[in-house]
C-alpha cells in the first residue's frame, strides 16, 4: 500500500512541478493556484455576495474545494496524505529529518495543542484580510508556502516569502508536517468532516499486543494503540500504522470502525 500511496503522491507532486516548469518556460498561464481547493474557500464570499470571483479564482477552485470536502467525508484527510504536494514534500522532509536526527521532535503537549488552533486563526484571517486589507486581491500569496514554492516566487510574492518557505520546510525536517499541523487553513477547513470520515483505522483489541509500534509510526502523533477506531481529525489515512503493526489484522481500514 505504501507503494500505491507513494505513486499517487508522486503523480500529484510531479503535476505541480510540471506546471511550474511549463509556467517558467512561458508555456502555460496557469499556476498551481488554478487548482488550489483553498482558493475555492476564499472564493465563496464574493461569489455569494457579488456573484463574482476574486482576482484569479474560478469555478474550478470551488469545484475542487467541494471534491476535497467530499473526499474528507469518505476518507478523512486523505487529501493531505495522498494528494497535497506540500504535504508530500513535508512528509519526505520529515522522514529525512528522522534519519538525520534519529528522532522526531514533538512540542510539549500543551504548547502543541494551543498551536494546533493557529490554523483556525489562519482559516478565518485569510478570507477576512482578502476582502478588507487586500481589497479582493489574493494577498495570501506572499505568505502561502504552497503558492510560493510551486510558482517559485510567483506574482505578488516578495523576498520575505522565500524565508517563509525555507522556515516551513526546515521546521518540517524537525517537526513532522509542521505547516499542516499548525498553520494550514485547508486542513482546518477539513477538520470537522475528518472526524466523521467514514473510512477509518480500526484496532482489534483481541489481537493487539499493545506493543505501541503504531503510535511510533504515526507521523501525526495519534495514539492509535489507545483507541478502538481512529476518529482523530489529523488522521490522513496514510496507513503507516497498519504497515508497521507486527500483528496481522490487529489494525485494518474499516467503514465507520465496523
Amino acid at each position: 500500500m505504501k507503494v500505491l500511496r507513494t505513486l499517487v503522491q508522486v503523480l500529484f507532486l510531479g503535476g505541480v512541478v510540471a506546471l511550474l516548469l511549463r509556467g517558467l518556460a512561458g508555456h502555460t498561464p496557469n499556476t498551481c493556484e488554478y487548482y488550489c481547493p483553498f482558493g475555492g474557500l476564499v472564493a465563496l464570499y464574493p461569489l455569494a455576495r457579488y456573484k463574482a470571483y476574486a482576482c484569479a479564482l474560478t469555478e474550478l477552485n470551488v469545484a475542487l474545494l467541494v471534491s476535497v470536502l467530499v473526499l474528507t467525508v469518505v476518507s478523512k484527510k486523505s487529501f493531505c496524505g495522498w494528494v497535497c504536494p506540500l504535504g508530500t514534500v513535508q512528509e519526505w522532509l520529515g522522514r529525512l529529518g528522522g534519519k538525520l536526527f534519529r528522532r522526531r521532535f514533538r512540542l510539549p503537549k500543551g504548547v502543541d495543542r494551543v498551536l494546533m488552533n493557529l490554523r483556525y486563526v489562519v482559516l478565518i484571517a485569510v478570507p477576512v484580510l482578502t476582502f478588507t486589507v487586500w481589497k479582493f486581491d489574493l494577498g495570501f500569496r506572499a505568505y502561502d508556502p504552497f503558492y510560493i514554492l510551486f510558482t517559485w516566487g510567483g506574482h505578488e510574492t516578495a523576498a520575505f516569502s522565500f524565508y517563509i518557505v525555507i522556515g516551513v520546510l526546515a521546521a518540517a525536517l524537525l517537526i513532522p508536517f509542521f505547516w499542516c499541523r499548525y498553520l494550514c487553513p485547508m486542513g482546518a477547513a477539513m477538520d470537522p468532516l475528518s472526524r466523521a470520515g467514514a473510512l477509518r483505522i480500526r484496532r482489534n483489541r483481541d489481537t493487539c499486543t499493545d506493543c505501541g509500534e503504531c503510535d511510533k509510526a504515526c507521523p501525526h502523533a495519534i495514539p492509535v494503540s489507545r483507541v478502538d477506531e481512529v476518529t482523530a481529525r489529523n488522521c490522513t489515512n496514510c496507513l503507516d500504522c497498519i504497515e508497521e503493526c507486527p500483528v496481522e489484522g490487529a489494525l485494518e481500514l474499516s467503514w465507520f470502525g465496523k
Partner: protein, 125 residues
Amino acid sequence: MKKAVIIPLAIALVILLAFATTNAYRVPTADISFVECDERPTSVATVEFEVSGLKCRGTARTFARQIQDVPGVVSFVAYARTHSAIVEYDPALTDPDAIREAFEEPILHEGKTYEVFKMVSVAGE
C-alpha cells in the same frame, strides 16, 4: 488492506467530478458593457477569443481598456478559467481582426512596453 484501494479510487472520482461539473457554475471574471442599453446597435455579432495573459479580474480590466476605444465594440465578458474573452461588436463598424489588433497592442507602463495579451485561438458565434 484491499479496502485501501478505495482511497485512490475516491480521489480519482472526486477530481473527475470536479472537472466535469465546473461548467455548471461558470461565472464571468468580468462582464463589461461599453454602451448604454439604449445605444446598443440593432445588429450585434459575437466573437470568442482565447487569450494568453487573460487570467484574472485585473488583467480583464486591462483587456477592456485595450478594446474600449475600438469603434463598434459593444461589450466584453471574460472567463479566467478558460482565458476566454467574448466580445460583442457592431459588424458594420468593426471586425475580429481589428479587435485582436487592439488588445495585442503593447502596453506602455513606467517607460517600458509589455506585450500582455496574445491571441491563442478565435471562434465566431
